[in-house]
Structures are given as C-alpha cells and as structure tokens.
Symmetry: C2
C-alpha cells in the first residue's frame, strides 16, 4: 500500500461506465450502466435512454420519494440493493438546494446520488507529540467491519445540518458533550468518487478537528465502535501508508489532517499526490 | 466577485482548446492550438500533428534546452512570447522526475509546461485576532502589478528545491532570517489550470504557514514588493470575496489558509466550492 493507492482506490470512478441520472435536466446521480438497465421496467418512475436516465415520477418530495421507495423494494428483492438501512439521505443537484426526493441510504450507491458525511479528527497534544483518537468499528457494521475509524463519523441524514449531525454523532459515538464539541474547528471537506460492487459512491465528507483535553476519554454509546485508543500521529501515518487497517475513506481524512497540520514533509515522494488528491472538484 | 469567481477564473482551462506537448510519449506541456500551429516551422525541434506535438530535438538536457531557446528567440521576435525572463524552470512529466529541458520562465505559458512555486502565509495572533501579512506588488512587475500578495511567493527555478526556494525568497522578499523561516510549516499545495492570453498556466503552489513574532516586520530587498501590512483575517477574506485586489492565484492561497485555520464556517454558502476547488488533481 501507499498513500497514492488509498487515494486511487477512492477515485477509481470511470465516466465511461456510467450514465447520468437527471431530474428536470439537472444531474442528481450517476448510474452504472447495468444499474441503469435494471431501471427499464419502472417506466412510470424513470425514462431510461442510452445516454442517461431521467426521473419522470411526478409530485412533491413525498410523492417522488414514495415512488422511488417502490422501486427500491424491488431492487432489494432482486439483490441489486443489499438491504434497507432505514435512514434517508436528501437527493439534490447540489448541496443546499431543495431536495428532489429522499433516498434510503442502502440504495444511495445504486443511484450514485451524492452523499454527505461529517468526520471528526480528535487529537491530543503532549509536548511535541500529537496523538490521534482512533476507533475500531464494530464487527457488525455492514460497511468496513473491524476497520479503524476517526473519533466520530456519520452520514448527514435528510433534513439535518452539518453542525447538528456533528453534535449528535459526537454524543452517540464518543460521548463528547455539547460543551466540548462546540470547540470543533471546521477544516474543509474531503471528496472522492468511487465505484463499488453496488454502484457509485459520490461522497463529500465535511471535516472537523477537535483538540481533546487531557482528562477526556471517548465512550461509544451506539455500538458502532468497540474500542478507542490514542495513537501517535506518526504511528497512524505509518499504518495508513503501509496497511489497509483504516476504513477506505478514513485514510483520506487522516491524510488531509496530516497535510493541514504539517505532519507530512514537502520532500515526501507522495506529498503532491496527497496535497492534490483529497479534494475532487464537484461537478 | 465571489470566492467561486476567483476559483473559476484560475480554472478556466478548456481541454478542447489544447493539444498535449509530449516527449518520448510522456506529456510535458499543454499547447493551445494556435501556439501548436506556430511551432510547425520548427520541424527539427517539434513534430506538430493534429492531436499533439512531440518534441523531436535530440541530445542531453543542455542540447535540447538550447534547441528550444532558439525557438523561443523567434517566438519573442514574433510577439508570441512577451520577453525573456532570464530565469529557467525545469520541464518534466512529473515533479521529482529528471528534467527533459530547461525553459525560460517567459515561455512557460506558451508551452503550458507545469510550473511550481512556493507561497508563504505569514500571520500573527493577538488574543483571538488573527492577522495576515499582505504585500503590495511593485508597479514594475510584469504579472499583476500593484496587486496584493502573500508575505513571500516565488517560482521554483531549475535545479532548486522547495525549501531552498522558500529560504531564498523569504530573505529577498521579506528579510525573513533563516532562524525564523525554519519554523514555516508545510501545509499542502494549491493547484489550478488557467488559460491566459499567452497560453496555459498549469501551476502548483507549495504552501507554507509561518506565525511571526510580535517584533517582526518584513522588509523587501529585491524591489518586488513596495509595502507590507498586517490585515485582520476577516478584512482579508472580505477583500478576497468582494474584490480583485489580490493577485489572481493569491486569492486561492488565502482561501486555502482560511479553510485550514477554521476561518470559514461550514454554513458559508461557498464553503464546499472553496473546500473542493483549490486542489485540482494532477494528471
């Protein structure tokens, strides 16, 4: 493994394998061609052409969401979508625009709609040594079981804001009280586009940093993380560079933290790949 | 103006207007089609095809550089290249690879070879107030006269390293002594691709931050900066957002600093454009 490998695997998207999903002409998703073909039988919801798929279900957000849920039901039964996650994400052409519909998280990669999450780098300083909080994901997680993770990470569900999601996830995942999480510093976003077995992940992760006090110890409440530990930043970077111990996208969040905090030297042979590989421009 | 406008103007590159310049099959530059056509008469140096231009001059770096200098002489006489800058940049397929030739800085946009620079954000803290050092460029500068600039900025000339360039420019541009500049923190790179009147700027700026002590006052020695002042970060961001007072690419370096230091709130309507617009992936 190398830093480059992690970046490349999160950006293995190939536009030739995909057609746009549009609503009123605006792109809202990216359908792999096999997934687009699987939508042909739902002609009251989607118009499938050779160059793209247009959403044709009519009505308000609730009505369109219900029509799409009906499609997802069939896709789950057919095994095209693994299962319902019972958590919905807003689907819109761009962040901040009114949603066109709400989509169950389990179907997000099938449709390639953009998903937004929040990741929190928790760190502590002791003299010149910087340590990062690292969580180990539960073996029961559907995505990346047992992998290492940031202190807090979660998807932004429909109707929820960035800060609101951060506060809620910080409490559930690591028992970080509101009085501490309010000191988290917004530090940008990591973005990538990745083909998986299920379709396309078009992800934007809002990144925050939080320096934790000496007496802080995170405690998980929702069962998603089984263990936390403080690792020196150099050990974390070594593991990112040499292994796949961290969840695929967490490698990118850690590399972004490393660049911003001066933990990578500019003569590192992978420095430019990292500095220019973590923020795929949005289209 | 808006943050987005600055990002868009530095990324106005349109691949349809350009053909690759290659050496041994590897891309080393980006020629606008009119510039490619202007190379047809130099058939001992370039083979101009409809889909690209291949370097055919043979010999070692010195010999190839000399052959290209002969071409640049004619381009300057014809007005395709404004003038010799008498400073050369290494040309290679990627950073860190051995150079194919050295090119006068004045001809870099004509050939669209990648150029590397170093930019230093100098800042000072006083309580909760963060101030940035801002320089005003000399009216005699060929590029962006009178515009506002970072504390230190300079191109990486042939054979010189990043840190070496930073130390040299810090001394010449702002009288920053070696004992202070060694505390500069590498913080990544800003990258963009821009069409100008002359051709293509394919730029990578290595970014450093330096917190300056209370008794520090920069002094210019090389005549490139006529005046320095400390501005509050909020005033700087306001001027970036609303004006073109800063040199085109300095807007991007300042926005990168702002994101990394938590100076932009995640609910800023331009937050995602900034967070994903400053680090064009290299190809």
């Amino acid at each position: 493994m190398s830093f480059r490998d992690h970046i490349a695997s999160c950006n293995n998207y190939d536009p030739a394998r995909v057609v746009p999903l549009t609503a009123g002409g605006a792109r809202i998703g990216l359908l792999r061609r096999d997934n687009a073909a699987a939508l042909q039988r739902f002609s009251d919801v989607f118009a499938v052409g050779s160059d793209g798929v247009e959403l044709v279900a009519s009505g308000d957000v609730t009505a369109v969401s219900r029509a799409i849920d009906g499609v997802v039901d069939v896709l789950v039964a057919d095994g095209c979508v693994p299962k319902w996650r019972n958590e919905t994400f807003d689907v819109a052409p761009r962040w901040g625009m009114p949603p066109v519909f709400r989509l169950d998280r389990g179907a997000v990669p099938f449709f390639g709609t953009r998903a937004y999450g929040v990741h929190l780098n928790g760190y502590a300083r002791e003299g010149d040594t910087l340590r990062l909080w690292v969580g180990r994901r539960s073996p029961a997680k559907q995505i990346a079981p047992n992998k290492l993770d940031n202190l807090v990470a979660g998807g932004i569900g429909n109707g929820h804001g960035i800060d609101e999601t951060l506060v809620k996830e910080a409490e559930e995942e690591a028992s970080i009280p509101p009085g501490l999480i309010k000191h988290a510093v917004p530090a940008g976003a990591v973005s990538y586009r990745m083909e998986t077995r299920l379709g396309i992940r078009d992800d934007v992760l809002f990144v925050y940093d939080l320096e934790t006090p000496a007496d802080f110890a995170p405690e998980n409440r929702d069962g998603e993380i089984v263990h936390f530990e403080l690792m020196t930043a150099s050990e974390v970077l070594q593991r990112v560079r040499a292994t796949s111990d961290f969840k695929f996208n967490v490698n990118l969040v850690i590399l972004d933290f490393a660049v911003r905090h001066g933990l990578l030297r500019s003569d590192d042979p992978e420095y430019l790949d990292v500095a220019t590989g973590l923020h795929r421009p949005l289209d």
